[in-house]
């Protein structure tokens, strides 16, 4: 397929995934901030939402203070934030238009309809919390529909695999970012571990990656920081864990390698990262530092993005 087509598919999937992650982040933050102060302390959850979205610096160029109104507006609708939900959907639609021939009609319909709704219903932002909740739902449903229609309707060929690469790379980045911002509440040696403050911080992490119910199914325990870290980093059965993302990245890259009859740096690098995840234990990770581990992972992950681009997309 055309390199440009593959590139567009890859970014299209990234934009859709990012929009959903932002919607989840806002939703989880709203829940935490709705709690009484005694449960969450004095931390500014809106600041940490900006950090996990990776837009803190650019936010403070526009605003002085991170409060609900400013952050929600910046993450959702701001035209000056290149990765606001609105811009993600608009970019996704622009990409879709230039690769329409590679999309199934169901996928196009999802993106195009979302874009139309964005113009007509959500164009002016939201005024009330109820409206905001509906908007966040709409974004998550768009992503579910898009993902579902890709899964159910696309031919299993390079078009599908490149779009999956974008999705898993973006997802791994998002999960790693939220861990990186919140790693301090996961550190077991902190004094107040186990208090109500941590408990709600932990729930908000799990909510951001849609893993709260999963946690209980997997561990059948009350929330414990090392188990949360284990779930999000090493547990292959959680779709948003780093291990699961890399399982998929390796698989999709292998499928491309087989179809094209040759492999390259992307396959090798992805396998390297996956092997490291497979052979890690939570004890060691805590020992060597969660923050360092995650930082390294984020760098490796973005390196994979560069290699894929060089090998296939230009």
């Amino acid at each position: 397929m055309l390199s440009r087509t593959a590139e567009n598919l890859y970014w299209l999937a990234r934009y859709v995934e990012r929009a959903e992650y932002l919607a989840r982040t806002i939703e989880a933050t709203l829940r935490v901030t709705a709690l009484p102060n005694t449960y969450i302390g004095k931390t500014n959850e809106w600041d940490s939402a900006l950090l996990t979205a990776g837009v803190s610096a650019s936010f403070y160029e526009v605003y002085d203070e991170a409060d609900e109104h400013n952050v929600v507006d910046y993450l959702s609708f701001s035209p000056s934030n290149p990765s606001s939900i609105k811009n993600c959907i608009e970019n996704a639609r622009l990409n879709s238009r230039s690769v329409r021939t590679a999309l199934t009609s169901e996928m196009w319909d999802t993106i195009n309809s979302a874009w139309i709704d964005l113009q007509e219903v959500w164009g002016k932002g939201t005024k009330t919390r109820e409206e905001l909740a509906r908007f966040l739902r709409f974004v998550q449903e768009t992503s579910l529909r898009f993902d579902g229609s890709a899964y159910r309707t696309m031919l299993r060929n390079d078009a599908y695999w490149f779009s999956r690469l974008g999705l898993h790379l973006e997802r791994a980045d998002n999960t790693a970012r939220i861990l990186d911002v919140k790693y301090h509440v996961l550190l077991p040696e902190e004094e107040h571990v186990g208090g109500p403050l941590d408990y709600y911080q932990w729930t908000s992490i799990l909510r951001s990656v849609s893993a709260l119910t999963a946690y209980h199914w997997v561990y059948r325990e009350t929330l414990k920081p090392w188990l949360i870290a284990d779930l999000l980093i090493l547990n292959d059965s959680l779709p948003r864990s780093l291990a699961s993302c890399y399982g998929n990245l390796v698989r999709n890259l292998d499928q491309i390698g087989v179809a094209y009859g040759r492999q390259g740096a992307a396959q090798r690098h992805a396998r390297g990262v996956r092997n490291r995840l497979e052979h890690s234990h939570m004890d060691d990770i805590f020992q060597h530092g969660v923050h360092e581990f995650i930082q390294e992972f984020i760098a490796d992950n973005s390196r994979l993005g560069e290699i894929i681009t060089k090998q296939y997309l230009i």
């Binding site: 397929m1 055309l2 390199s3 440009r4 087509t5 593959a6 622009l94 238009r97 230039s98 329409r100 021939t101 009609s105 196009w108 319909d109 195009n112 309809s113 139309i116 390079d158 490149f162 491309i256 094209y260 296939y312 997309l313 230009i314």
Partner: protein, 472 residues
């Protein structure tokens, strides 16, 4: 202006046979049911994203072309004549183009004046003596046809460069079949769905000699901001070929390749929807970022087929148009089956003085204009506009032709005040491959939605209708 002939109700208000079933159905169908279907159709068009970009209209970068749910019906007998006439005309167009860029017999025979060709900005000296595969120049032609009475069809324009609209022909039919299955069950409508297949096989048939048995065909678009981008992506999809932009292509050793995830892949036939001027910055406009450097040398080396060929603009020039009856006779030795609209060539002093005296009755068009831009519709224009146009005409008479304002036929159309007659034209699409000329039965009917308006162009607020050719 005379009262226009209505395709459904006929000249004397007698229902014409091809429309009998439709009329009965319209009588049975309550107006609000029709309105409901109309809205549904609009929704479908929007969701599928069948849009048309309008240049210079920031408000509506992507606009829907209004779709009218009342079909336009043409009987089998009428179509048979049209088909024959269209094939004849396109054969002549191709022979004319080959001649102009080779022996120029028609100029030596003094049928078409030399300067009309050589001083024409769309004439391409680069194509002089250049052979094109199978001598096909116009692989895809869109011939605009108007009707003025039950017997007479006129050709209004020959679009021989990059005619668009065929996606609407196909999508209109799809949507009509979805919304009005009952209406189809009452008629025998010839299918149009074979068009993409026929287009692909025509394109394959004109692959260069050096191409493999399975030539690679690609569709080249200027990109997502082009007004017809939807059509480009639609066709590439239906044909199952890559939709490429200039930046996807590269020329090496006079061969054209596309950049793929598996490396470079040779391209043999390019259905290009990019104008000549933008094809190759080394040959044409150096500032064009849309094209492919070296494409013309690959073309000259015979390693790639461009459809339509470079330089076909000379055949859809409106001044050359006025010679089409002579052109058909000259090459085929046959009487033209389809007539031209009578045309005054402003370049000729006698015609010019007539045109200047009758501006308020005539339609004056720019010779190289398209899309309804830069024309004067005398009867609808204000005095000031006419005077301004008169000055333009005197300054540059060779840039214009004039035609009588025809009473274009009308067709019943949904309007805010119920069904009402609106003027229509028809653009059938004629395909030419290595040894055959084909037309799928139908075309794009464009309709002027404003009462009394004769302008059907989509860029000027016109709409479209499904066009039915009855099969018996």
């Amino acid at each position: 202006m005379a009262v226009a002939f209505d395709e459904m109700n006929g000249p004397g208000g007698d229902l014409r046979p091809a429309y009998r079933e439709l009329a009965r159905w319209l009588k049975e169908t309550p107006p609000d049911a029709l309105e409901y279907r109309r809205q549904e159709a609009e929704l479908l068009f929007r969701r599928i994203g069948i849009t048309f970009a309008v240049y210079g209209d920031a408000e509506a970068q992507e606009r829907l072309i209004p779709f009218d749910v009342i079909p336009r019906i043409i009987s089998a007998k009428e179509w048979a004549i049209l088909e024959k006439g269209l094939k004849q005309r396109v054969r002549a167009l191709n022979m004319f183009l080959r001649d102009i860029y080779h022996g120029r017999d028609i100029l030596r025979a003094n049928i078409v004046p030399d300067d009309l060709i050589f001083q024409n900005p769309v004439f391409r000296p680069e194509m002089n003596g250049q052979d094109v595969p199978h001598d096909v120049y116009v692989h895809i032609a869109g011939i605009d046809i108007v009707r003025v009475n039950p017997e007479e069809f006129f050709v209004l324009e020959d679009n021989a460069r990059t005619p668009s609209g065929v996606s609407y022909m196909l999508e209109n039919r799809e949507i009509m079949m979805r919304l009005f299955p009952d209406l189809f069950a009452r008629h025998r409508v010839a299918p149009v769905e074979k068009y993409p297949d026929e287009l692909l096989s025509a394109l394959r048939s004109v692959a260069p000699l050096g191409a493999s048995a399975e030539p690679t065909v690609a569709l080249m678009t200027p990109g997502v901001y082009n007004s017809a981008y939807y059509e480009h992506s639609f066709l590439a999809d239906k044909l199952g070929i890559e939709l490429v932009e200039g930046r996807d292509l590269i020329v090496k050793n006079d061969e054209v390749f596309m950049r793929t995830t598996e490396g470079l892949k040779r391209v043999d036939v390019i259905y290009r929807r990019v104008d000549d001027d933008f094809l190759d910055p080394l040959t044409f406009r150096p500032d064009s970022a849309l094209g492919v450097p070296g494409l013309m040398s690959a073309y000259a080396a015979g390693n790639v087929t461009l459809a339509n060929a470079v330089g076909t603009g000379i055949a859809d020039d409106k001044a050359v148009y006025s010679y089409m009856p002579e052109i058909v006779k000259f090459y085929l030795g046959e009487e033209p089956i389809l007539k031209n609209v009578p045309t005054w060539r402003c370049r000729e002093p006698r015609d010019l003085s007539y045109v200047l005296d009758h501006l308020s009755e005539l339609v004056v068009k720019e010779v190289h204009g398209s899309g309804g831009y830069g024309m004067l519709i005398g009867p609808a224009a204000t005095k000031a506009t006419i005077e301004a146009f008169r000055d333009k005409l005197k300054r540059e008479p060779e840039g214009f032709i004039a035609q009588p304002t025809l009473a274009l036929s009308t067709c019943p159309t949904c309007t805010e005040s119920g069904l009402a007659p609106r003027h229509v034209d028809l653009r059938p699409f004629v395909l030419t491959g290595s040894n055959h000329v084909t037309i799928v039965p139908g075309g794009l009917t464009r309709v002027a939605l404003k009462e009394g308006s004769l302008v059907v162009n989509s860029s000027q607020g016109g709409g479209t209708k499904d066009t039915w050719i009855l099969d018996e």
